[in-house]
Structure formats: structure tokens, C-alpha cells
Symmetry: C2
Subunit: 262 residues, 2 copies
Amino acid sequence: MNNQRLILVTNDDGYASKGLAAAIEVARGFGRVVVVAPETPQSGMSQAITMHHPLFLRRVRQEEGVEVYAFSGTPVDCIKMAFDHLLREERIDLVISGINHGSNSAVNILYSGTMGAAIEGSFYGCPAIGLSVDDHSPDADFEAAVFFGRQIVGDLLREQVEMSLCLNVNVPVGKPADLKGIRFCRQNRGFWREEFFRRQDPMGREYFWLTGDFVNTEPDATDTDEWALSHGWVSVVPVHTDLTDYRLLELLDGAFGSTEKE
Amino acid sequence: MNNQRLILVTNDDGYASKGLAAAIEVARGFGRVVVVAPETPQSGMSQAITMHHPLFLRRVRQEEGVEVYAFSGTPVDCIKMAFDHLLREERIDLVISGINHGSNSAVNILYSGTMGAAIEGSFYGCPAIGLSVDDHSPDADFEAAVFFGRQIVGDLLREQVEMSLCLNVNVPVGKPADLKGIRFCRQNRGFWREEFFRRQDPMGREYFWLTGDFVNTEPDATDTDEWALSHGWVSVVPVHTDLTDYRLLELLDGAFGSTEKE
């Protein structure tokens, strides 16, 4: 145990969620832990930042080696608060975001507040891990996620990774002994087929509530995170944030060129 | 003018913004226009979706060839509302998101509600364009963005692009005649150096408000959107959403392998 290390923990389910307590369990064996987590649930907040109103920071508790703060913004706001204000004078060695109630495999990474925070953490030049369990229930079992989370964090810290690295880690339902191990994967292709649940409010106004099903367009691709998850593996996808489609860039440049006006 | 085409318009500044009116101007020469835009400003909302509360849809106005709806969610919620409910029985030929007050070049694409909506539109299998002007002011001049927006939309529709295509288009400040033309680019590398503006509220509580400066880590790279914008070009970055870092995937798989438990 190296108490010199500083681990920043956040999530998108809010500072009081069971998954956050599990993330603290993962982190606390590796150093001092500071938590800056959202005051309220922020699922589906992606990489959103709060621009139009002020935010409030509150210290929730301090115990041996763990300080917990609640911040009234998004998961990304929490990361910015930690790096740019609260821990500005310190060196953060690792960011852990999660443990999320619900998987963030495939295209879900784009909507995920958990992964938004992990990506943001990696922007500050340190390794960041988003950890999620494939179970949405508030009392999901985090034992396997804690087990494999510790293994991955241990590997990263032992290898002294100090780069801007972001990993999207998803853990299937099951006890550690039931799972096959860790599998490095690519992001699965697929999309959400959405429906809006429609009802009337007490004033008779129609309201809409988002719901839907994920459609996996490549269920047999064994190198994807979805395949790994559904076959008992912990999926690990290394994440980058250059959204340039280079293949299309070449095509478009060839077809249209850079058109200087006459 | 082909009135058979259906163009969906949204934005992140809200249905009443000047930029939305400019996006309608871009779209209306190409077909029937349906706008589903946020009820309230949603800058910085990234690809966020609303999961924890119901949403309300309101028809704002209908005029010759243009219907405008306000939806109480995020930009991505607006896209889902249009494709999965309002226009479910119709075929949408193109999505235009914007015109945003402020550029979405470089890493800003990740925080941008404008680009979140454009990306979401492309998930439904049609071309989508995010249009932004490098001017945050509420009364920004959109003349050049309308001019070049029409040119790009015209090219896409003439080529009968029907694929899942997403373009991040940013237009510098200036009149059309002052700008050099269109340049296909890659996403610039850089990051935000943030600061929190700190004050006390009327109850004496400290609050934080996000502010910051963008740091361009490759100002001389002539193939980037930032370079194009700062040299008088309209930048066009084709966007993909596979966040897998394939280079790192190969490295990690080599270093750690997929570790089956003993």
C-alpha cells in the first residue's frame, strides 16, 4: 500500500450510490482517496458541462484516507472541480469513475456520464478508468467489479502508467469465480431503437419518457465488448477522443477538395 | 427546389435563438422543414439524454413549409423525439443542427450539444451536419454560415448521400466574400485550462462558475480545424463515433493479453 498516491473517484449515479462506495473500495488499497461526485443522479449526462448556472461544493465526510465531496454539477464538472480547484496543488495519479449501475458497452459510452468523467480525467494527463456493472438495479452486486477493478488498477499502477489513458471497463453479472477474466475489446456497433412512453400528467398534459432497446448489429463479432460481456468476460476498451473519420476525410477531400472560392 | 425532401433542424441554444432561424434559412430551400429544438438553452450538453424526468412537446408555430416544435429536453432528446415519435412514419433526408453561437472545433465537439444532436441524427442512417459560427454573441452574424451551409447541404443532396454521415462544420467570423472557402480537416488536439470563477451568493454560500481558455497543442498543424478557422477557412471535419483506441488495444493486448483466470 502506497499512501503517497492520490486517487480521484467520481461517478454519475451521485455521491450516495452503492456503486460509489464500491469504487472507493477499489481505490482505497492503492493510496489516499478523494471523491468529488455529483450531488444528484446524472445518468445519461455524457460529457456535459454546466455553463448557465453556478455550482456548489459540499464536504460530505472525511474518514481515514477518504474524503468525500458532493458537487452540484455533472460528472465532468466534478472532474474539473477536482483538477482545477480542490486538488489543484496536488498530483492526481489515477481517476476511477463508477462503479456504474448499468453497463456502458457499445454506443452507450457516448451517453454515459460515467465515461464522460473518465474521458475528462484522461484529458488531464493521467490514467482514468470507467467501471460499470451490467445491472441497473440500485442494489446491484459489485463484488466482481471490485475484484477485477482492483486487478486492473493494480496492473496500471505497477506498470507506472502516467499517460493520458482511458479505459472503459464493463463487468457482467456474477460472482468473481463465475467470470472468465479480462478481455481487451473494441467498441461494439449497434444503436438504440427508442420509444417514448406516453402518459398524461395530473393537469392533462401529455408527457414523454424515454425508453428503448439496444440493437446489436454484430452479435457474432468476438472482438467486441458486447460479445465479451454476454459471454462472461470483463470487457476493457481503450478509449480515444479524436472523432475524425479519417477514411471519410480522404474520400471527401478527393471528391470535393478544399474548395477555394473563385 | 424539391418539396418531397424532409429536413429536420435542431440546435442547442434553444428554439428562440437567432442561430436557429439561420439554420431554417439554410434548410428551407431544399425541402419541407421540421424543427424540434430545445425549450431552453442547452449549450455544453454533449450527447446527454434525459432519463430521470418526463418531457413535454409544444408546437410553437407552423408557416409555409416550416413547422417549429419546442421540446423540454436536451438536443439529443429532440432528435429522438423527431425520429422515434413525431416523424416516425416519414423519411428524414437530412439533419441540420445549429447554427451554434460559438465554434465547436477541436475538443469542443465532445462537449457540444449541437454536435451531440448531429451525431445522434447520423445514428438514424441519414446525413447530419452540425453548423457553428466562431462568435458566441447572441446577435452573431450568420450570413457566411448560411452561405456555406447551403453550399454543403446542396453538395450532399446533389450527391444523394443517404448514409450515416456526420459533418462538423465551423465558420469563421466574416462576410462570405471575406472567407477563403471550405477546407476538409481533422480534429485539432488541445485541451481546456479551466478556472472556476468564485463568488458568494446572497446567503453567503460560495459558488463556482466554470470558465477557461482553450490551449491549442498544435497551432501550426495546417490539416486541423483550428488552423483552418483561424486562417479564414470554413472547416469541415467528418465525424465517427467508434471511440476504440486501436493502437492502444494492440499494445494492451500484447502486454497483458486476455487474461483467463486460472
